[in-house]
């Protein structure tokens, strides 16, 4: 064998070696994307703080995040004088709960008012419960609500007075999902389907026991 042939063979072997590595890397990447935790919602684990608040529930008693440990929480901000957009999201979450069936026993919808001036504890609880028996309506001091909203970068703004009285409140439409230890795990938007939200909740509920 001539020296030039040996060099050519060596170059071939190196090229084949590189190709093999590239294939392995591609396969690994493909395997990774099919990992069990293929979230369909936005994974925010480690990017947002744990659930913490001190608000007021339907009976007028204080409710803290600590009382909800052991439950997967779906947190949504709204206001009861909202007859269209908020009901659409609350109905959406209700359908997800129905879809989950018995798995939903440790899932809780939290509806937090961004309009405490009008939303008394009783009104906000009645409003939330009108959508799902597993929904809890919370209100409280504006400062406590602002603190909770800021914690999750939720914005809200009271609109101008309407002719004839009343006003609207513009607010973030996201749904924050927390695990049973109160850790922020996922963010859903009203545009996510029932199926996608239920899919991720099934994974979250399924992984709780082993973690």
């Amino acid at each position: 064998m001539t020296a030039s042939l040996r060099r050519a063979r060596s170059r071939c072997a190196t090229a084949a070696h590189r190709l093999a590595i590239a294939i392995c890397v591609a396969l690994l990447a493909a395997c990774h994307s099919h990992a069990p935790r293929a979230w369909r919602l936005t994974d925010v684990r480690g990017h947002l703080p744990d659930l913490r608040f001190r608000l007021v529930g339907g009976a007028g008693h204080p409710v803290t995040a600590q009382a909800l440990r052991g439950e997967n929480v779906l947190l949504y901000f709204g206001y009861t004088h909202c007859p269209d957009a908020c009901p659409l999201t609350m109905t959406h979450l209700h359908r997800v709960i129905v879809d989950l069936g018995p798995l939903a026993k440790d899932v809780r919808i939290l509806f937090v008012s961004v309009d405490p001036a009008r939303d008394t504890p009783q009104v906000v609880q009645e409003y939330a419960a009108a959508f799902d028996p597993r929904a809890v309506g919370l209100t409280g001091d504006m400062s406590e609500i602002e603190t909770l909203a800021k914690r999750y970068r939720v914005a809200f703004k009271r609109g101008p007075d309407l002719p004839g009285g009343g006003y609207e409140v513009t607010h973030s439409s996201a749904i924050y999902v927390f695990d049973t230890r109160g850790r922020a795990r996922l963010i859903a938007s009203p545009a996510d389907t029932d199926g996608d939200i239920a899919h991720d909740l099934r994974i979250l509920i399924g992984t709780e026991g082993s973690r």
Partner: protein
């Protein structure tokens, strides 16, 4: 000066009269309203009214408002979601194109129904009069449904 104002006023009145005369009877015959329902919320919280609107005529028609003996105040509203923010705002009208459709539907245009004269419960039938540009009206029976209704009738 007086004459100029007078002319403008007369022209405006004439215009309104002509529009009213033209749109009134035409609209009544050409507008179809179906699947009308109300999402009932607890207590005296405002409710939302939805319906499908069809214009069988050759001219576009604008829904400009509504009134009812069952609610003290009704406004035409639109919900908008942009940049992750949900907003509801009052709108002046909803256009139904010629030979076309438009909808008052969840997450979009809707009637905001305020100040129920008597409590409205799921299953109730509520009469609401839709008002169109030009003065035409259409009185429609809306079916009251529970808060967590996904799809209307």
């Amino acid at each position: 000066m007086m004459r100029a104002i007078g002319r403008r006023t007369v022209a405006a009145l004439l215009g309104a009269a002509l529009l009213g005369a033209a749109a009134g009877p035409v609209a009544a015959a050409t507008i179809g309203v179906s699947h009308a329902w109300i999402r009932v919320l607890p207590g005296d919280l405002p409710a939302a009214g939805y319906a499908r609107l069809e214009n069988r005529g050759d001219e576009s028609i604008a829904l400009v408002g509504a009134h009812s003996g069952s609610y003290r105040r009704i406004m035409l509203h639109e919900s908008l979601t942009s940049g992750g923010m949900a907003e509801m705002k009052r709108v002046s009208h909803l256009t139904i194109p010629a030979h076309g459709r438009a909808a008052l539907s969840p997450g979009g245009y809707h009637l905001m129904l305020m100040g129920a004269v008597r409590p409205v419960k799921p299953g109730d039938k509520v009469s609401i009069t839709l008002v169109f540009a030009g003065g035409a009206t259409e009185t429609v029976t809306f079916l009251a449904m529970p808060a967590n209704t996904s799809r209307g009738p």
